[in-house]
């Protein structure tokens, strides 16, 4: 069945977009930070993974042992040293500072690695597929990515709703002033939040680098896709972000089935349509 195939492929693609979106959704949900550099940080993670595989000979999956701590440290320092200073003055400061970071990362990568396409090689898993009854075939790699996205969201839900740290995150998200009065050090907590968000960004970056070629200019479109998934799903809801990613993926798959060049456009149009009908997304939890 062609339609079932489109739904399955689109849904699996959505897992990928959800993975892109988790870091953005977290920083947006907890500190209302609009991180314009998010897409570039995903691409940066892919480059860190590439350099790690060069120097250690590790395969890309294992390079996460290096990429994750590097990105965590980067996220923590960025928030502690720079972004915390932007959070009190309205929309413009965080937007512009992360715009600046985005330009610095893009052009830094351009100077360091050139404008060429790179790719992380993971071997047979990239092309392996499962045959299902009814003539369907599902790529093993998209399935793995989807499983990682499910696992990532489930573990974040556990963190948010079953731990002291998670309670603190929810408290600053609901009312940062009151949370501070209750003895929470917001600045430290925000730094930790971006650090944790960057763990997922690191995973997303490496998995992205295995799936497709990447270049220094690949960031902005990842940001848009991640943002669309977050907004379609509704702010502050992680499972909503997954659904948002899947809606986006299915819309793209339908567009691509009509004509391959329509894939991205179909996703954007679905996003705009949903925004017009439901400006706060499908499953909003946090009030902006």
């Amino acid at each position: 069945m062609n339609w079932i195939n489109i739904l399955i492929q689109g849904g699996l693609l959505g897992g990928f977009y959800a993975l892109f979106a988790i870091g953005l959704s977290m920083s947006f949900g907890i500190m209302r930070l609009v991180n314009i550099a998010h897409g570039d940080l995903i691409v940066l993670a892919a480059y860190v993974g590439m350099v790690a595989t060069w120097y250690t000979g590790l395969d890309p999956f294992l390079s996460l042992v290096i990429v994750v701590p590097v990105m965590f440290a980067l996220g923590y320092t960025l928030q502690r040293g720079l972004l915390n200073q932007t959070l009190s003055g309205g929309l413009l400061p965080p937007l512009l500072v992360t715009f600046g970071i985005s330009i610095i990362i893009q052009n830094g990568l351009l100077q360091g690695f050139g404008a060429y396409d790179h790719r992380l090689q993971e071997g047979a898993i990239e092309t392996a597929s499962l045959r299902l009854p009814g003539g369907l075939s599902i790529g093993v790699y998209p399935l793995v990515v989807f499983a990682v996205a499910l696992f990532a969201i489930a573990s974040l839900q556990l963190l948010f709703y079953r731990t002291r740290l998670g309670r603190a995150f929810r408290a600053v998200s609901d009312d940062s002033d009151t949370a501070e009065l209750m003895g929470i050090d917001n600045r430290k907590l925000y730094a930790l939040a971006l650090g944790i968000a960057m763990i997922f960004t690191a995973i997303a970056g490496v998995l992205f680098g295995i799936r497709t070629i990447f270049a220094p200019s690949a960031g902005p479109i990842r940001l848009i896709l991640a943002f669309e998934a977050v907004i379609i799903g509704g702010l502050g809801s992680m499972w909503g972000t997954l659904i948002g990613g899947m809606v986006l993926g299915v819309a793209q798959a339908i567009g691509a089935a009509v004509d391959p060049t329509w894939q991205i456009l179909a996703g954007h149009l679905a996003f705009l349509a949903i925004l017009i009908v439901r400006p706060s997304g499908l499953f909003p939890r946090t009030r902006d």
């Binding site: 929309l91 715009f99 902005p220 848009i224 991205i264 456009l265 705009l272 017009i276």
Partner: protein, 350 residues
């Protein structure tokens, strides 16, 4: 008996206006005393200044932080190329219509993006611009992915020879940028400007005092789109070629423009001038070092945002209280016999 009058100008602005006259005259006369290279640079400064003024009007006054203004640069450019090429229209008519076309397209766009606030609005405008870029790359009559070029016949409508064309294009750029600046300046001095300044300072407060914030923002958005479209048409008239990536480039037409406004001073009319000069000087100085000027520009923008959020011009105003393009209203005492005991000092600020 109160004896005050409302002043719209300042001493600095009157002195500046007189000093600026010879400079403007020199710029207009540039084709007769300078070379094409410098003229192109000044033309570029003029259109970047116009884009910066327009973004400043949107974000600095109306609070509409759009990162999708490249949509209207591209639309204006494509409108010009489509009207002169497939529609066979005269190039001046096409340029004249490019702006209104972009403004017209902005109306349905505003219905979608005006449902969004803050960051949503910003990214929403970006997505809209991507939709235009992707659509242009799918439409065959617009040259699809590879875009359109201006034919020599179209260029001969401007002037039969290269030098005449350079002169005409330069003067047109200067005139259009001056027009855009005049529109922004007069708009800000008008009733709408007062409403806008109120919205800039506090949207809920201005709404509670009877400012129709939605209508004011809507008007600003459409006017800005139309002016951006005109400048877009002009930019690509000089570049001779347009493609989806070049026309709807966020880095070229929005990011650097935002940096200019922020570095110069957002929410002032002088700021975009200062920021544009900083950008051009940095780029010319660092031309041999690849993209390092963009990295430096990013660093400066971050530093300005964190350490002096009102920008270079904001710092100047704080220190010296000068306004070269006053848009506010000040109360000044009228020296009169009846009002000897009323002491009024001029109020600073807008």
């Amino acid at each position: 008996m109160e004896s005050v009058r409302v002043e719209r100008g300042t001493k600095a602005s009157r002195i500046f206006a007189i000093c600026a006259l010879p400079l403007v005259a020199a710029l207009i006369a540039m084709p007769w005393w300078s070379d094409p290279g410098d003229m192109r640079l000044v033309g570029e400064m003029a259109y970047f200044l116009a884009l910066a003024q327009l973004w400043n009007l949107l974000a600095g006054y109306a609070g509409l932080v759009s990162v999708g203004q490249q949509a209207y640069v591209g639309l204006g450019g494509y409108a010009l190329f489509y009207m002169t090429g497939p529609l066979n229209m005269n190039v001046y008519w096409a340029l004249l219509l490019a702006g209104p076309f972009a403004g017209l397209m902005a109306i349905p766009v505003s219905f979608a993006v005006f449902r969004l606030r803050g960051a949503y609005f910003a990214i929403g405008t970006w997505v809209v611009s991507e939709v235009f870029a992707l659509s242009a790359s799918l439409i065959a009559v617009l040259g699809a992915g590879s875009g359109l070029s201006l034919t020599p016949a179209i260029l001969r409508q401007i002037s039969p020879d290269r030098a005449g064309r350079d002169t005409m294009l330069y003067l047109m750029t200067l005139a259009c940028s001056a027009l855009v600046f005049a529109i922004v300046y007069l708009l800000l001095r008008s009733r709408h400007g007062l409403a806008l300044t109120a919205i800039r300072d506090s949207e809920p407060a201005s709404a509670s005092l009877g400012v129709n914030t939605f209508r004011t923002k809507f008007i600003i958005y459409i006017v800005t789109a139309a002016c951006t479209g005109l400048i877009g048409g002009l930019i690509f008239l000089q570049k001779l070629r347009i493609s989806p990536e070049a026309g709807f480039s966020i880095n070229d037409w929005t990011v650097v423009v935002i940096f200019m406004v922020v570095i110069g001073g957002i929410g002032t009319l002088e700021g975009p001038f200062v920021g544009m000069l900083v950008f051009i000087i940095l780029r010319e100085l660092l031309a041999d070092y690849g993209t390092y000027y963009l990295i430096l520009l990013g660093l400066i923008a971050i530093a300005v945002m964190l350490k002096a959020p009102s920008g270079i011009w904001g710092w100047v105003v704080q220190r010296y209280d000068v306004q070269l393009f006053p848009v506010g209203r000040r109360l000044a005492p009228i020296p009169s016999k009846d009002a000897k005991d009323v002491v009024l000092s001029p109020q600073p600020g807008p």
